[in-house]
Assembly symmetry: C2
Homo-oligomer: 210 residues x 2
């Protein structure tokens, strides 16, 4: 079933999850697709359609039970467990990622960090000792690492990604501004501020157009 | 016209632009939608449909002239000029953003940086002197700033965004993991590694499903 769900729907599920988690914190018990849609600027019809891929949720005319839908999304997204993450590249960006306090409470634990700069290797960042990239394969196996985050310069990104893929990693988040390639059974997502800024300038240009 | 173009199409345009720029660097003159699609893992039909929103490009059975399509996309995306950017929040993440060498060659110049921590204000980061957030309005006006990047902790993000909006900024990139709100005439994009990691775990979960 999972294979037929459009990627754009999967990209929206974490937004639903985040909004519902906030509602649960505020003790909201029931939410309508109208209310959820208003908060996320997504049409209620779109929300109902997106969720319908995964089953029957909510009561028509009443809405969704917040805790229940949150529980379902937690399962669908695989957030009912912790995930071990390896970071490759411990420059300024890598250190900002290690420092990012939102990851552990959401279940993403960076348990190993790698660099190939001899000046960095064996240094401590918080609780972690930076390892030589040559140790990647052994560490991934020993620590059961699920996800790789790549924060190296663009020129080194494909090599780092190939290295993770060679070690059996099936999910990679790439921060380098480069279109990297992976085999079909590996998921690669990227975070590239340039791409996002370019969608903003598209809109700025439209605003100033006659 | 611009209003009717689906947001997902706009999100893909920078991917096309990046791939074509790389081809131009490698002196490729003509590319088919098949070749472009293979590189981006997007179907050729999707590429042709996306581009058709903006006019008639390419020759059937032959392909697109790389330089020409690049030029068109540069105009469509508003990349034929430089954009001035203000950074709000100069912690570790903010410093990584200031340090990010890909922005200036793509036309995004961070010309001002703000913080509200007295320990940070007046310190230099590279060529920039960190300013008090209280100076935001005057600086945005004097320097003709177009875009704001928010790199403050989640609890302060909405306030920083409101501040930018109040100063007339119409395009904001938010790095804080929080669903912030803006008026309808302001574009807000977010970079939230948690949301991206959650789409990866969705796929990891699907892989391990029976």
């Amino acid at each position: 079933m999972a294979r037929q769900i459009p990627e754009v729907v999967i990209l929206r599920l974490p937004l639903y999850f985040r909004a519902l988690a906030l509602m649960e914190e505020k003790k909201t018990e029931i939410v309508s697709s109208q209310e959820l849609g208003a908060r996320l600027e997504i049409t209620p019809a779109q929300i109902r359609k997106d969720l319908s891929y995964f089953g029957k949720f909510g009561t028509p005319g009443k809405g969704y039970n917040v805790s229940q839908l949150l529980g379902e999304l937690r399962q669908i997204l695989g957030l009912d467990r912790e995930w071990s993450v390896a970071l490759v590249g411990v420059g300024r960006l890598g250190r900002a990622i290690l420092d990012y306090s939102e990851l552990p409470p959401r279940g993403f634990l960076i348990v190993a960090a790698f660099d190939r700069d001899p000046q960095q290797i064996r240094k401590k960042v918080g609780e972690l000792v930076i390892q030589d990239i040559a140790e990647l394969a052994a560490t991934i196996k020993n620590q059961g690492i699920d996800i790789g985050i790549v924060a190296v310069p663009p020129s080194q990104a494909q090599e780092a990604i190939d290295c993770l893929v060679g070690c059996g990693i099936k999910a990679i988040l790439n921060y380098a501004s480069v279109a990297a390639r992976v085999p079909p059974d590996v998921r690669l997502q990227e975070i590239d501020p340039v791409l996002v800024l370019q969608t903003l300038t598209y809109h700025l240009k439209s605003l100033s157009a006659p």
